[in-house]
């Protein structure tokens, strides 16, 4: 990672950390005047993050979605983008920012554990399928994180207005997650003649997919348990996060590119 990229990375990470901190002060001490400062800070960090991604795209010669570090940064970018769009649409969803920024801050911290150097595209990766596969993986996990943030808010604030965005984001995340698995499967068939190879990341992605599939059947299973779905989402997200960025710590996988 070049010096400028490094500076930009730490700048936007610090920006999101500061926004999270301001958000906490704003909510705990009810300081409404901080609203504009927090939002400005989030927007500035988001702009820096976008510049970082463009710069990395130009220097690597391909969109930065190959290494685990890059995919985490892009997922966080999607999460913040969703937050900005949501805030514009309905101001009472703004509270989700605290949970979203918390996730973003933790994920960006975790991303530093991976190799930050960009990797050239190997021959098998030079295909449109990678774009589809990686786009839906990163945007899918961002949707699931956003949905889970609303679940957290629902549990904390006991407000049912958060249930609708929770349900919509989780459904969208589930569709994106499915597209990720299906596109990967078609790509594997085109590259190696097999649409499923039981690679650890494939297996854990399928496990996460089934966990989310079960989530949509929860009303049939536990209709009497109040807040069961929100609790369930917290548990399900752990599996999705592990499938994308945790598996390679424990297993050898064909999905490791840095």
């Amino acid at each position: 990672m070049s010096f400028i990229e490094s500076v930009l990375f730490w700048l936007f990470t610090a920006g999101f950390a500061l926004s999270f901190f301001l958000f906490c002060i704003e909510l705990v001490f009810k300081k409404t005047f901080l609203k504009k400062v927090t939002d400005g800070c989030i927007f500035a960090a988001f702009t820096i993050q976008t510049s970082f991604l463009i710069l990395r795209w130009l220097s690597a010669g391909h969109f930065p979605y190959v290494t685990s570090f890059e995919s985490i940064v892009i997922s966080c970018w999607f999460v913040v983008l969703f937050y900005i769009v949501l805030k514009q649409l309905r101001n009472d969803y703004r509270a989700a920012g605290i949970a979203l920024l918390g996730f973003v801050f933790i994920l960006l911290g975790y991303s530093t554990a991976f190799q930050k150097q960009s990797e050239p595209l190997s021959v098998s990766l030079q295909t449109l399928w990678l774009v589809i596969h990686a786009f839906f993986a990163t945007s899918g996990i961002a949707c699931l994180i956003t949905g889970t943030s609303f679940a957290l808010l629902h549990l904390k604030m006991r407000d049912i207005k958060f249930l609708l965005p929770m349900q919509r984001f989780v459904s969208l995340g589930f569709i994106f997650w499915s597209v990720m698995i299906l596109s990967g499967s078609i790509w594997a068939h085109q590259a190696w003649g097999r649409y499923w190879g039981w690679d650890p990341i494939e297996t854990w992605s399928l496990i996460s997919w089934l966990i989310y599939a079960a989530y949509f059947h929860v009303p049939f299973l536990a209709p009497k348990f109040k807040n069961f779905r929100s609790h369930y989402l917290l548990f399900a997200l752990l599996f999705a996060l592990f499938a994308l960025w945790g598996v390679t710590t424990f297993y050898k996988s064909v999905h490791v590119y840095g």
Binding site: L121, V123, S124, Q126, T127, W129, S171, L172, F174, I175, S178, V179, L182, S185, I186, W187, H189, Q190, A191, W192, G193, R194, Y195, G197, W198, D199, P200, T203, W204, L206, I207, L210, I211, A213, A214, H217, F220, L221, K252
Partner: protein, 337 residues
Amino acid sequence: MKKLSSPKLAAVLIFWILFILVLSALIPQEGTADPLFYELWKRKHEKTVRIIEFLSLTRLRTSLWMILPVIFLFFNILFFSVEKTRRLKKITMSHAAALVLHGSFLVILAGILVSALFSIHGVFTLTEGQTLTLSQKNIKLISSGMFKKEIQTDTVIKLSQFIENYEVNETNTQASKVHVTENTGAQTKEALIYPNRPLRLKTYTIYAGSAYGFSPLVYIKNKSVTFKKCVRMANALSKNTSVDRFALEHYTVKLKLKRALNKPPVLTFKISDKRDKEIVHYSLRPGEIKNSRGFELGFLDIRQWTSFNISRDSGAPVVFSGFFLTLMGMVLRYVFH
């Protein structure tokens, strides 16, 4: 019928499949785990592995633990869809989407069943200039369906050239130029195979493999031994170094091939005797033949070798049709629900 089509049973089955999948991700699975790791693990925990193997826990994904709940789930979804359609007075778009979505899983499962019964996957390697008949004895099987145990074809394939830096759409890739004759006496056609662009034949499809390397034509001769062969060397240490080691009667031969940009490659011979005492240590460039300590050594030519995957899977189009229906069902459900 009512019990078999209940969503509660579906949820129980999904959780059971989930449990088996998690277990299969935690217990090393025969066939998909790294073979060396699997062997070491087996040796280390001999008694435990014997129990695990008895319970089919090392082949969980193809065992009855997995197959039975999947079959039940198939019928659960089928009966549920039929029941639901029968009970509905008016089918809305949301209902139709849910039916398409659930029906798509039946299509996918049917495709997986076809693959499990009739698919076949193999791997073979070719050196530049080498011709091979794609018959069972020349192909190493990776997996095969219950009713498909052999690759049966009279297709003949010749690797004319392996190009390490082949440009496609402004990106570099590895490409294999091959000549293929599908039936005896048929016309030979030339084709290029590179990653993500397989060669589709009438019955089988050939894919570029991930392994490739150099194959120098080596000549070794002394009083008792004569050896002249293309040695397939694997890349090691770095992309520019290949190594190989083989026994030649009572000698051990170690070869190391080094490449540098714009320079001819260098092949180093190390020959040692039974007591592992090095007799010969000599380096040659292509076309050179030299004598060293009673051995005549030659580096006659250099070629490249590459691996290919061969497969036939009639279940794949069915599975992909199921994928299409899944996406259609999901998007419609999202929009109309």
